[in-house]
Amino acid sequence: MDARTSVKSELMAIKQTQAFKKRFDFTRKIIAHQDTAGKEVIPLTNEGPFLCTGYNIKYTKNSTVTRGGVTTNINRVGLRFTAESDNSAQSNDYVPVQLIATPGDVDGVRYGERPWQHLYPEGDALTIEYDNRAPANPAVPGDVYAMANEEIEIVFTGYIFPGQSIK
């Protein structure tokens, strides 16, 4: 075996036995429209399966509630994720962003992520359902809600496995 053949055979061996595992941040921003329960369908990467290992959420507080003449900014958006491939919602209902965002407030210092594992096959799409409606009945009678569009920015972190497939 000459040197050139040896090089080819070494590289072929790598190609056949090694695979990439690439760190990947997947960022998307959606608008949760006022007084609306809607959804956004977001195509994921075509590079290979994406293993999400966590996410972080940032949100605005443009809506308000007024009680006794005092107005407070709030965010009442709830989110529900569903992968198109398995059509199984990742929560049984809308989860308030304030409960799953880290650390949970728009002006807070951002750190870490919420651990979350889901494997999306190549070409999969993520459906993000949102609910940005005022409560049907205020907790305290007389509360007046003024809902506004809210910006929800999500960073999904994880790994891509280029060239791989899920059987």
Binding site: A3, T72, S88, N92, L99, A139
Partner: protein
């Protein structure tokens, strides 16, 4: 000469290439196969509660998927202002039909009707938030199609609240094949 260079080069390639970690093909297949059959899942119970009132509702987990409970958190908010901790509702998590055994060999635990002040170790309060910190050191197999009763008892101020059960769903077939990791 060239051959030894190639060998050294290939050695480096197996660690990193273009900023990407290179795992063995078998390792990647193992990751993909495992993750295909295990996925994170949230079960949430949202409620609106009047002062001194009590509300309850059941949450049932997915059929054919085992649910491993890994964390519980609760959140209460009074939209017009932060609740004082003394106004926080009390939350109970009542595991009914608790799985009597699991492949992990875990003995059934007395987890019926867990009061919030026991479940949530620290009452974290930051800024305008009202919440119980997530209790993360939980690892309980609740089985498949398991019903959990979540209850809340109101404080002195009406409010909205939510209890979140976070965990991992494992495909039933994968779960039955699990050998505790001894041969995996």
């Amino acid at each position: 000469m060239l051959k030894s260079y190639v060998e050294a080069f290939c050695q480096r390639l197996t660690g990193l290439k273009n900023g990407c970690t290179i795992a063995s093909a078998a390792q990647v297949r193992h990751i993909l196969e495992t993750c295909k059959n295990a996925r994170a899942k949230d079960y949430i119970y949202k409620f609106q509660i009047a002062a001194g009132d009590s509300v309850r509702d059941a949450v049932t987990t997915t059929a054919n998927w085992h649910f491993l409970l890994c964390g519980i958190s609760a959140y209460f908010w009074d939209d017009a202002g932060a609740l004082a901790p003394s106004d926080w509702p009390t939350v109970s998590v009542n595991f009914e039909n608790f799985a009597l055994s699991s492949p992990f060999g875990a003995a059934p635990r007395d987890v019926n009707r867990v009061p919030a002040n026991l479940v949530f170790g620290r009452e974290g309060l930051q800024g305008p938030k009202n919440h119980y910190e997530e209790q993360k050191n939980i690892f309980i197999d609740l089985g498949q199609r398991f019903t959990t009763m979540l209850e809340a008892k109101g404080g002195t101020t009406p409010c909205f609240g939510a209890v979140l059960l976070t965990g991992v769903e494992i495909n039933e077939n994968e779960f039955l094949n699990f050998d505790g990791g001894e041969n995996g």
